[in-house]
Amino acid sequence: MTQYEPVIGLEVHAEMLTESKMFCACPVVDSTEAPPNTTVCPVCTAQPGVLPVINRQAVEYGIKVGLALNCTINEFNQFARKSYFYPDLPKGYQISQYEHPLASNGWLDIDVDDETRRIGITRAHLEEDTGKNIHMGSSSLVDLNRAGVPLLEIVSEPDMRSVEEVEAYARKLRAILVYLGVNHGDMSKGVLRFEANISVRPTGSDEMNTRTEIKNLNSIRSLVRASQYEIARQIKLVESGGQVIQQTMGFNEESGKTTVQRSKEYADDYRYFPEPDLPPLNIDRAWVAAIEKTLPELPDAKRERFIDELGLSVQDAGVLVADKATAEYFEAALKADVDAKTVANWVTGELFRLMNAAGVEIEQVKVTPEALVDLIKLVEAETINNNTAKEVLEAMFETGHSAGEIVKEQGLAQISDSSALEAIIEQVLEANPEPVEKYLGGKEGLFGWLVGQVMKETRGQANATVVNQIMRERLEGMRKA
């Protein structure tokens, strides 16, 4: 039976979180929280007679993304009008870029199953976001706070061949946007939206078949679910002798199914033409070069550095750089004189475990990088042992108190004092004459049990190395006696 593979390209709409909107001076705010229509002006509400003015910062942000995605930044830029009627589109057209986008011909490397794949970036262009329609029973209201917020539309080549690749691409792209500081990546705020173009073909074939387009996917989870469903739907259709029709689909979060929104014959004719209110924008090479110098270290470069210079494992390095805040947390901890691998272990191990259990992001974690270092120092100084340290971290995670405070409050400091331990060991040996007898008779395995009794007496705070040493000396002494 024929095996099928999907052919997938993604369009990502990323809001550029500039100070002001794309074509007016209104501030860019969290559109899920600001009261409706409070950040609007004559321009973004499309009053008659107003004109757009290009936001330089938005262009700069777009150039940053283009450079990070290895694109050519085009010298000649032109905005165009994309016409359609909808209440959330005040002018009746969206100012976008059509024939002359900001950036083109780039790529993004993604890692799936220990393999690196290069996904082509067709283009990235600037446009303006729409407002939001709010439906209330039989009537609808329009909130234009979001109207005019700069958007960068990033279009990939149809280079993805699995849902895993789609997810990896989306996550990597999101990470880059956050690293660049142009988008905060919080999809619940609608700052990042996806559209997937999907077709299927026999595995290994190079034909490009009719595709469908799934619009308005507002999270990576929806993107993944919708892609999975749509791929399966198309394969099933083709296997049963059917044909995929070029359609625009929506994704129903509840049913998990894609549904047809409109077919090609009803496709909008957007009647693009060059925006006469904005002269062509020529992007100065020197400006691009200056922006390039300001680019931060991006995830791939950071990962390589973590591996090469800090000696981290590929796995740990990958996990630490996948999220900018995590990488920043890790690097903040390294400012102290502390072993990088140890910090990496604590962050990717215990800290991640606690975060997952509590369902919080690293930004909300109460344990500062400095506090984590203090904890590691206590272990290194043998004030506490590793197991106690995990308990201390949990308490720090919950209370935000320092490791030192918690160790003191709960009396968790490790007992390394030989005289104190000798007394306890003496008690244990006296209280357990039989196991001692058996040990001396050759049952060597009971040594560990006897040490365990000491740990029990000290609630785990005894320094195991010291206990081992004294215990052995005492027992050997008894044997001789």
Binding site: P42, Q47, P48, G49, L51, G92, D269, R271
Partner: protein, 487 residues
């Protein structure tokens, strides 16, 4: 003493400066005259009486405090296509009935900063689409020289108000001739500045790449003052050009020695009213007498200007007018569905000419037609511009008629859009090329209807055309004739 309403800006300024006249008295004289005449002429859609007098009082106060400006206290009218904060701005369309903009157009802001007093908003062809003001959603404006005739358009209200002495001066907008043609038909001075010279912010867009705001006045010197007031770069209009604004008054001279005038052979065509041709040719001879040298030039793509204009302007208009959807402002015709609401609102709100141009433009931009129409038109537009560029290598200004006819009768061309479109055949090429042009009164036909001489300059060559127009005006008496009107 002459009637106050006959005064030009410069004449009124002299009296205001000497303290022999107050802005309040001057303004009241205009309000009284509007009261008497405008019922018949209907040049105004709105007269802001109370606010007008308040502005006049403020102007007098400013002058009393030592401010001195030729425009301080001068009563002017604004075409209703210019946004005025809190004052109804309809663009002559039912779809904007009751609309009060939340902001004021940059050009008007500049006029107000100089102290000009707003009399009101003038009638126009709906969204500046037309050549007779008959396309207004609020009734036609009548030509002060013959009230059975049109004032031209689309800025017919502004032209008629200035001609009938219902305003010292006015602002209009010109996309294909909408200042120069009505100026010609009403016997006043009308100037279309070069594209980018005046900010379009607050000018409700008809065709964004062609629209310009410009003045109407009763003298060339007044037009120079007005242009100086409204010209200049505006950060809110990215198509306005960041070039210094010259002292236009300083450019005015009484002779034309050394000025080379070109007469385009393609502009004296079949269909031109013989009286217009005769009068304009006589005016060109007059330029020669003033010291200019006159030579024939060729603008070979002239006959393509009209079809090119009627692809580009409607294409831009089809998008510009998409915002009139009844959602955020203007009357709404509530339908059963969103789509019905759109259709019914626009069906009821727009007049036939506006609908015609929206359809023309939508078609020209449609997938499969874009290359053949819009793109081709843009290419020919470049050729038209190159025609002018080449001509201006040989001459300083080009002289031709502003309109092929004098004022035509109301109703004469309403059923024949093509005939109406031909009214702008001498004006619209300039808009396509981005040049400047002025119409100055140069005679009257046998029916005592005014004829305008159009003087065309290259982009940002306003000083040249103002100089030529002023010298011509000073050597002739045409601009002193006034229409005889009674309430």
């Amino acid at each position: 003493m002459t009637e106050l309403t006959e005064l030009t800006i410069h004449e009124a300024y002299a009296l205001l400066k000497k303290g022999e006249l107050s802005s309040v008295d001057l303004t009241q004289a205009y309000l009284d005259r509007i009261d008497v005449l405008d019922g018949r002429l209907h040049a105004y859609l709105a007269v802001t009486s109370d606010e007008t007098l308040e502005q006049a009082r403020r102007a007098d106060e400013r002058r009393a405090k030592g401010e001195d400006d030729p425009l301080l206290g001068i009563p002017v009218a604004y075409k209703d296509v210019l946004c005025t904060q809190g004052v109804e701005t309809t663009c002559g369309s039912k779809i904007l009935a009751g609309y009060k903009p939340p902001y004021t157009a940059t050009a008007i802001d500049k006029m107000e900063a100089r102290g000009a007093v707003m009399l009101g908003k003038t009638n126009m062809d709906e969204f500046a689409m037309g050549s007779s003001t008959e396309n207004s959603g609020y009734g036609v404006t009548r030509n002060p020289w013959d009230t059975e005739r049109v004032p031209g358009g689309s800025s017919g209200g502004s032209a008629a108000a200035v001609a009938a002495q219902m305003a010292t001066a006015a602002l209009g907008s010109d996309t294909g001739g909408s200042i120069r043609q009505p100026a010609s038909l009403c016997g006043v001075v009308g100037l279309k500045p070069s594209y980018g010279r005046v900010s379009r912010y607050g000018l409700v867009a008809y065709a964004s790449s062609l629209d310009q705001i410009g003045p109407f006045s009763r003298s060339v010197a007044d037009a120079a003052v007005l242009l100086g007031a409204i010209a200049g770069h505006d950060p809110q209009d990215s198509t306005s050009v960041d070039m210094p604004v010259p002292d236009y008054i300083a450019a005015l001279t009484s002779d034309l020695k050394g000025v080379k005038v070109g007469v385009p052979k393609e502009y004296f065509i079949e269909g031109i009213d013989p009286a217009v041709e005769r009068i304009v040719r006589a005016a060109i001879d007059q330029l020669k007498e003033l010291g200019a040298t006159v030579q024939e030039v060729s603008l070979p793509h002239t006959d393509m200007a009209l079809p090119v204009y009627y692809l580009i302007a409607p294409a831009e208009a089809s998008a510009n007018l998409a915002r009139f959807d009844g959602i955020r402002y203007g009357p709404r015709e509530q339908g059963d569905t969103l789509w019905d609401t759109y259709c019914q609102t626009r069906e009821a709100g727009f007049g036939p000419e506006v609908k015609r141009r929206i359809m023309l433009g939508t078609y020209a931009l449609s997938a499969g037609y874009y290359d053949a129409y819009y793109l081709k038109a843009q290419k020919v537009r470049t050729l038209i511009k190159q025609d002018f560029d080449a001509a201006f290598e040989d001459v300083d200004v080009i002289a031709c008629p502003a309109s092929p006819t004098t004022a035509f009768r109301i109703g004469e061309k309403v059923d024949d859009p093509l005939q109406m479109y031909l009214s702008d055949v001498f004006t619209l090429a300039l808009n396509l090329a981005g040049n400047c042009g002025i119409s100055v009164p140069c005679g009257f036909d046998d029916d005592n209807l005014p004829v305008g001489l159009q003087l065309v300059g290259p982009a940002f060559g306003e000083e040249r055309i103002l100089r030529a127009a002023h010298a011509y005006e000073q050597a002739t008496e045409w601009h002193k004739r006034v229409p005889v009107l009674s309430g």
